[in-house]
Symmetry: C2
Subunit: 581 residues, 2 copies
């Protein structure tokens, strides 16, 4: 090695050692006849000193060093006069005897410090420089640790990591596929997997029993703020199990990750029915770091002559504790918030439970004090509370109030990034109606098993059929989801029928799986965690982009390498394709 | 769990336990009033017994079970009368009290036994059944263990696993890329990586210092017997190192793998110059499980009037020890072997050193006994040896004799799959001349550093420039290769120039890397191991196909899922491409 030590390891215990270090010039400063250089590598920062009295030439050399120059120094570890006890290496410095320039550096386009002055676009273009910054690098180190920990846990439970293919077959279900033209099979295409779903099920048919894979998956979707065309899943499957087994094994995984990576001991993960999550939080991924559950008011508020409530399918509200003193302006802000197009509500009703015990609503014209007391009782308010109420069509108003609830959580400081509230949401609907295609879609995917007791409803009331499907939610974010799968050819065929496949289409697309179910398929089920998302939660970040080494921008471009790009005509010709742009 | 134990764990120590097992019916047989069923899962086989005297109905149920039916049984562990001490579970059986059919099975298209009657094509089509067979499953279990061990070793040395992108940019160097049309950027394409080469170098520029990744790579090449369009690399890179550091770290990896996975303690890995490997074995990946080095005979055999030798650039031979008694027929076989089109030699000369001490050659017409004694001395033959000699153009004849050497190794049983001979081959040429394009190509890749002392020759004698490049060879197979990289913009630009790039082309394709080298790039280098190949060697297999869960056939097809396939016109339209088949 070109070094004897890293820049993060020398301490007061190493005094007088002769050492050789390598790294980058973080910064340097002159002070009298001395030059001090902070040298950085992945492991830390060590201070170097050059003294004109000792070696004027060497010091002159040191003064030439610019930021981000790559250097190698040999010298002696000495005690520092001006100690920095915040740093591992803060009590020592290196009295340099020899300085070697390994590579010079142009002035970087932005500051390589924890707080940088570079904008998003610039930092993506020079991602290799952004990755030098501690916060960004630390995210990837965290990611590595989490991956190692996942593998340790699953390997310890006899799970086997099996690599499934990346060049697979395009299927019409789910999101849009990325496709890959085949040169050897002209006119035909591979697809990149949206998940290894069918392969992991086949591994269960093969008797592998306990499979996992940390694996890249691909979706050609229009990229919203926090989507990436390629993302990573912790993909898992087990055979000879029931839902309860999956929940236990993977609750164990999450708990071990929190414990060994974050040092956080989680309590048992609570479980909630999908229907309850929607009723109490208006969301299938409630943020349960705070309570503020929905209260339904139809029985109390209707029939008094207030047309907004009388005409609404559902009237619901939340209790914003301690907010009775909100000003008119603050209430207006909340109203504006829920009226934003992406939420689309029409109005907000409130009831203040004053510190003096008074009840004052924005609809006093319609409701007298006795009636408002019923409201207060329904929410169990205390003096100082503010009830916020919305009305409308059930699904819509729940979603709208869910947004308001989260906003109130933010305003009240109830969504601390260092508090973790995991939750299982269970018993998702099997199907959801799609207005555009006027047919049912699989809510999870077509291989999810309906609850046996609901199968009969598939013909009569498909929207009510519940699935053996479950999501793991942490702090209001879905981090994983899975289901018990169908392992019976007839039931799988029935599912395809309900999803609008003809028998021929089902056989063409998924014949291999239907066939496999006839050769001894065991009961099985599994789960997949969004690894990028999970890491971002552990890192306390809102975006997955910062836990990905080389992310793409919102147009799916890698602006660093300038990809995608045009390719040579020769390549197109060999592939027997033409672009029609 | 649906089971209390697996089919591999119950022994005589579990007598009288009440257990529940799940698995597949391996086979069953009737004997008097009894039915015996071998039940199999991933962990082993356990015998079940059903007795008409105890429960006639249950036994009748058992007699209905076919091969590969999936069942669940509850019963008691009892001692077996007819013990099978070869199996873990061979001293016990389960006296079944309850039998549940979890899934029936059609008769499989081939025997699911260690030795099967299924042909290659059938087994690929029903890969999920082939994966049930012990030898195939064991390969994947081995693969999992090796991957875990690789990660353990590298993590222990502070390497960080970083995921690099799969959707990257097509480059003209190297093999043909698979490309992916971009819907969001019409007319443009991503490429799938042939290796994460430039990204891992950028990670070094970022200061990551020690990177690895077990990663899928892709090459759209015509598939020879043992190539796959997608394959897996153990990809590694280090900064602030010299070649010696890489060799030491990764020799350590290989030794730890052999020790912890195979229980084999390797000696120190020998090192050989590329030039010596070519001279002594005619190959840059010599099988050093056996010696049989080439002996060069130009000085001894020329000038006596034998036109084949006189006109040849190089006359070389090997000593096949103990083969002096080869019959005419055996010699003819060898001659036929080297005359096969894929080897293309024209003839074979031999010299027998008889048990009686006599020397008898196939060219006695030209060489007298004194001269043959010189031959014998050059090879240091003993009575009983057979010298095999070939002549021709240096590069060609070396390759040809290399094939003959391996064939002789096979015939003499010198290539035992349970013996492991690893080897470092060092100092590869930087460039190789390509006849077709009439220019030099990078032998390793364009980022490989020339040896500093050879850089001057780049202009005068490019073919003689040696690279800081190295291969790890095991038993005649290249399992890994790498190099010290260029980290200087000017030298990298010079390399691109010598590879026929214009300045503009270099900037368009690799500008991001050239730019990165100007912002403080440290000295760095790395290596990549072919993981499939490495696993196949550990498994004692000739093909990588059997260590891949779902391989493609020689036309790049997955015959199980029937991929690649045509895609919908709607998809092509969205991607703005047309097929021209």
């Amino acid at each position: 090695m070109l070094r004897t030590h890293t820049c993060g390891e020398l301490t007061i215990n190493d005094l007088n050692k002769d050492v050789t270090l390598t790294g980058w010039v973080q910064k340097s400063r002159d002070l009298g006849g001395m030059t001090f250089v902070d040298m950085r590598d992945r492991y830390g920062i060590t201070q170097l000193t050059f003294n004109s009295d000792d070696n004027a030439e060497l010091r002159a050399q040191a003064r030439e060093l610019g930021r981000e120059f790559v250097i190698r120094v040999a010298g002696k570890v000495i005690e520092r006069s001006n100690k920095n006890l915040k740093m591992n290496t803060g009590e020592i410095e290196i009295k340099v005897a020899k300085l070697e320039l390994l590579n010079a550096a142009k002035l970087p386009p932005f500051l390589i410090e924890d707080e940088t002055d570079g904008g998003d676009d610039l930092r993506l273009k020079y991602r290799y420089l952004d990755l030098r910054r501690n916060p960004v690098r630390n995210n990837l180190v965290l990611r590595h640790k989490m991956a190692q920990e996942v593998r340790k846990y699953l390997d310890g439970l006899d799970f086997i990591e099996v690599e499934t293919p990346v060049l697979i077959k395009s299927t019409p279900e789910g999101a849009r596929d990325f496709v890959v033209p085949s040169r050897m099979n002209p006119g035909e295409f591979y697809a990149l997997p949206q998940s290894p779903q069918t392969f992991k099920q086949l591994l269960m048919v093969s008797g592998f029993d306990r499979y996992f894979q940390i694996v890249k998956c691909f979706r050609d979707e229009d990229l919203r703020a926090d989507r990436q065309p390629e993302f990573t899943q912790i993909d898992c499957e087990m055979a000879f199990i029931e839902q309860e087994d999956i929940l236990n094994v993977f609750e164990g995984l999450i708990r071990q990750l929190f414990k060994n990576v974050k040092g956080v001991e989680l309590a048992e993960v609570p479980r909630m029915q999908y229907a309850d999550a929607m009723r109490l939080y208006g969301s299938d991924k409630p943020d349960t770091r705070f309570d503020m559950q929905f209260v339904e008011l139809n029985d109390i508020v209707k029939g008094v002559g207030f047309p907004v409530f009388d005409s609404a399918e559902l009237v619901i509200g939340i209790n914003a504790k301690g907010c009775a003193e909100y000003t008119r302006k603050q209430i207006d802000e909340l109203t504006d918030f829920i009226k934003r197009p992406q939420i689309g509500a029409t109005g907000l009703i409130y009831l203040r439970h004053g510190a003096d015990g008074s009840l004052k609503s924005s609809v006093d014209k319609f409701y007298n004090e006795d009636e408002l007391k019923k409201w207060s009782a329904a929410f169990n308010t205390e003096p100082g509370d503010l009830i916020l109420i919305m009305a409308g069509q059930t699904d819509k108003v729940r979603k709208q109030l869910s947004e308001l609830r989260l906003e109130m959580g933010n305003r009240l400081g109830l969504r601390d990034k260092n508090v973790y509230a995991p939750l299982w949401v269970l018993d998702f609907p099997l199907l959801e109606w799609d207005e555009e295609s006027q047919r049912y879609h699989a809510m999870h995917h077509p291989f999810t098993s309906p609850k046996p007791e609901d199968i009969a409803m598939l013909d009569t009331n498909p929207g009510q059929v519940r699935a053996n499907a479950y999501d793991m939610v942490v702090n209001g974010t879905e981090v994983g989801g899975g289901s018990i799968r169908i392992h019976d050819r007839d039931l799988q065929s029935l599912m395809f029928k309900h999803l609008g496949f003809t028998v021929e289409e089902a056989q063409k697309q998924f014949g291999f799986l239907l066939d496999a179910f006839e050769y001894g398929a065991p009961p099985h089920g599994g789960i997949a965690f969004g690894f990028d998302r999970l890491v971002s939660i552990f890192a306390g970040l809102d975006s997955i982009r910062d836990v990905i080494a080389f992310p793409k921008n919102n147009s799916g471009r890698d602006v660093m390498i300038d990809s995608p790009s045009t390719i040579a005509d020769e390549q197109l010709k060999e592939l027997k394709i033409k672009t029609t742009v």
